[in-house]
């Protein structure tokens, strides 16, 4: 259950720093999602976790498995590329849907377009 002991201490420190940095960024994003006032402010916060937090944690996984297996293990790059491509797509879909909903009910918080 425990991590292998034969990885050098400097490498372990680098892996730990990457893990803690990524987890901290993700938690800061979650606090931001909870604390901000309006929806359009809130939608920015979680992308901290799904961009840089994801990069740091996947980088620590790549370093750990490459060192402990003694060969380059980089299949986590697949997830990095996939999430980097899909996160903006899904967030743009959701925010445009929210904008359409706000406009449809005549909210005063969003700019309106003339129906012509």
């Amino acid at each position: 259950m425990s991590p292998v002991a034969d990885i050098p201490l400097p490498v372990a420190l680098i892996i730990s720093a990457c893990l803690l940095g990524g987890a901290l960024l993700t938690m800061v994003g979650a606090i931001g999602l909870l604390k901000f006032k309006t929806f359009y402010q809130r939608v920015h916060a979680p992308t901290l976790g799904s961009s840089m937090g994801m990069m740091f944690i996947l980088a620590s996984s790549i370093i750990y498995f490459s060192v402990s297996r003694g060969a380059l293990v980089f299949h986590e790059v697949l997830i990095m590329v996939f999430l980097t491509l899909t996160t903006p797509i899904s967030l743009m879909l959701i925010v445009r849907a929210a904008l359409a909903r706000d406009r449809a009910e005549g909210s005063a918080d969003v700019p309106h377009v003339d129906a012509d």
Partner: protein, 93 residues
Amino acid sequence: MSALVLSVSISVAQLMLVTAMGLYLFRMIRGPRAQDRVVALDAFYVTGMLLMITLGVRTNSTLYFEATVVIALLGFATSVALGKFLMRGEVIE
């Protein structure tokens, strides 16, 4: 020594990720409107995926990688479907 450093930092990182998931869950339950809940769900699955990667590092096993890929794929499909539903009221027209 390095095993101790790794296990402590993995535990702390998992604690932070679980805290983040709890905050997302809170926003998902409370969230004043449907779009808040959908954004919280989108962030929730990404954080669960990161938690599974740290679990893979903790147990020194690459088996969790496949589960991670499945979570990423299904989560994107979920977000797109929910965004379409928010926009139109129907997923497939």
